[in-house]
């Protein structure tokens, strides 16, 4: 049995996954703090826990994500664009459009029939439309992130929230709260704001190609997925365990690199 490891160190979470012979997931872990924190160390402990394996048993390690260059265990660093594409295509071979929203970036990737990347776009130097935007809004609305999805589906109408700036959107939300707008309606407006921003990235990739798959931490929020479906006018498949698809792609690419070495 040959084990490979994929580590995805993002700005707000750390993920790792061990793969056996390039196909079976042995273990995966996610810690909700990212690069520069205890996250990378903790996720490594977590991913090996109860596996009976240690780093010495790993034949090849690929690191990805914002913090990829600070992973000293890595044999190779690969961009998160390539890793997410690899991971998603492995899980869902029909995927042609990927929407990945993480802590500080949002990306749209268009895949070819072989899983090759035809085009990708990422957000600019701005937190609007990212996980950080939802973080800020969750705090202002006093609704934990995990409950944002439930609140979204209780909305009677979607409040208008700016999609261009997190700071301006935050003050809009505060004034709507003080005007008595129901929090559920604001939550739906917040999700719409994220969807509008991300949708622009998807449209830049050309005519929408099915199947559309969503991954990244924000894909765990069904309210955000619903808003995205409405904005795109298309059905979205949420990747299984959407936060670890980058780490999965990294582990698959580690397997390919290992085989190339042999």
């Amino acid at each position: 049995m040959v084990y490979t490891l994929g580590i995805d160190i993002g700005s707000s979470s750390s993920k790792a996954l061990i793969l056996a012979d390039g196909k079976d997931i042995v273990s995966s872990a996610a810690i909700q703090v990212g690069t520069g924190t205890s996250g990378p160390g903790r996720v490594m402990e977590e991913v090996f826990r109860d596996t009976g394996l240690s780093l010495e048993d790993i034949a090849f390690t690929v690191a990805t994500g914002y913090g990829r260059f600070s992973v000293k265990e890595a044999d190779k660093q690969i961009s998160e664009i390539t890793c997410h594409a690899k991971g998603i295509f492995h899980l869902i071979p029909g995927a042609r459009t990927i929407i990945d929203i993480g802590g500080q970036d949002a990306k749209a990737i268009r895949l070819g029939d072989n899983g090759n990347i035809l085009q990708f776009y990422m957000n600019d130097k701005c937190a609007a439309g990212t996980g950080r935007f939802l973080d800020v809004m969750s705090r202002v609305l006093e609704i934990p992130l995990d409950n944002m999805g439930d609140a979204h589906f209780k909305a009677t109408e979607w409040a208008a929230v700016s999609s261009t700036c997190t700071v301006f959107a935050e003050s809009e939300v505060i004034s709507q709260l003080s005007n008595g707008v129901p929090r559920e309606n604001i939550v739906a407006g917040v999700h719409k704001s994220v969807a509008t921003k991300t949708c622009a990235l998807v449209r830049r990739c050309g005519e929408l190609q099915q199947e559309v798959v969503m991954c990244g931490g924000v894909a765990k929020n069904p309210g955000a997925v619903d808003a995205m479906e409405k904005a795109l006018g298309a059905k979205i498949t949420v990747a299984p365990n959407p936060q670890i698809t980058g780490a999965l792609g990294a582990a698959l690419l580690a397997w390919e690199a290992y085989q190339k070495q042999q």
């Binding site: 914002y66 660093q77 690969i78 961009s79 998160e80 664009i81 390539t82 970036d105 090759n116 990347i117 035809l118 085009q119 990708f120 776009y121 990422m122 600019d124 130097k125 830049r204």
Partner: protein, 419 residues
Amino acid sequence: MEFNPATASSKECLAYYQAKLDEEAWQAKKEGRLVCWSASVAPPEFCVAMDIAMIYPETHAAGAGAKKCSQELLDVAHGKGYNIDICSYARTNLGYMELLKQEALTGAKSETLANSKASYVPLPDLVITCNNICNTLLKWYENLAKELNIPCIIIDVPFNHTMPVQRHNKEYIADQYRAAIHQLEEVTGRAFDYDKFLKVQEQVQRSVYWWNKVATYAGRVPSPLNGFDLFNYMALIVCARARDYAEITFHKFADELEAKDAAGQYAFGAPENEKYRITWEGIAVWTYLGATFKGLKNQGAVMTGSAYPGIWNLQYTPGDLESMAEAYTKVYINTCGPNRYEDFMNIVKNAKSDGLVMHLNRSCKQMGLLNQEGAEYVNKMLGVPFVSFDGDQTDPNVFSQAQYETRIQALCEMMEANK
């Protein structure tokens, strides 16, 4: 030790002549001759023929960006009320002008000016601008003229909605040139020197010839030329194309590249270090020149093409004003989309590039506007992948190094997959 252009390297020539141009402007001031601030692609031929010293605010601002001191000049402009959405070359220069103006009015250098790493240049006696690369240059230079109460020469160049350049456009621009000559005669109180004008035009053509020659080395595989060097040497095609300084330096640089190629030395040293060849669209990120270069070098990506340095491919027939008019109006960003896309595709083709890097420059809407369509056209015609990143020419607040590196790495992974 006295500088000897015969024995100096092209890099030494570049540094020497850049400093010399500033010294000459100060000397002109001392001798009571005129100093002109000029837009980078405005024709210098008229002023140089009348022995006027030239200073180029865009190059000065780029230098301030590269020396990481543009922020303090931007802050001066912001303090005067200039909005952050205005071009950062304009803001950097208007901030710098304000510091020089205060010095001229009070006789005392402000702390910001005294400590600035930006090269110290004299205030202008007149300005010349041309809207062949953008329209911000009109209001920026009108503003300089108004603030300093000095003459402003404007060469108005119509946008080319169709190509080739229309006859009436050339005639219109040639008339603008004649008006500029008349204006200069009034400013200097002397008759225009047509004999010297012809000699200056001939000099510009020799400078352009050697500038274009240098760029051709990037077409070789592997490339002996590191395309980022064009960003540095560009200072002389902008500021000294009407002098022999540019010709001497570029001729030398071309000879060095020829020798390098013959010796099997390339942009990144050994030939195998050139893994990918990219075309760069847009102005350099001067404030992060090293970071943008290293981001590519770390992946083995050599810049072999760029439309930006080609802006100064100003070929024309000396003595023919309409030919000169055509050269200054057919700058690619002053032409319609289809012409621009075709030019861009030819650059990628000649550079034998495997990928495109598009700088979405917050300052330069004119260059950024058709980037996406241009890249899509090249992608469709040549199958070359592209990536874009956010940045700015001299405002350091827009660029994110980590975001840039991720995009470049992903592009290289796409180029690798295409091999």
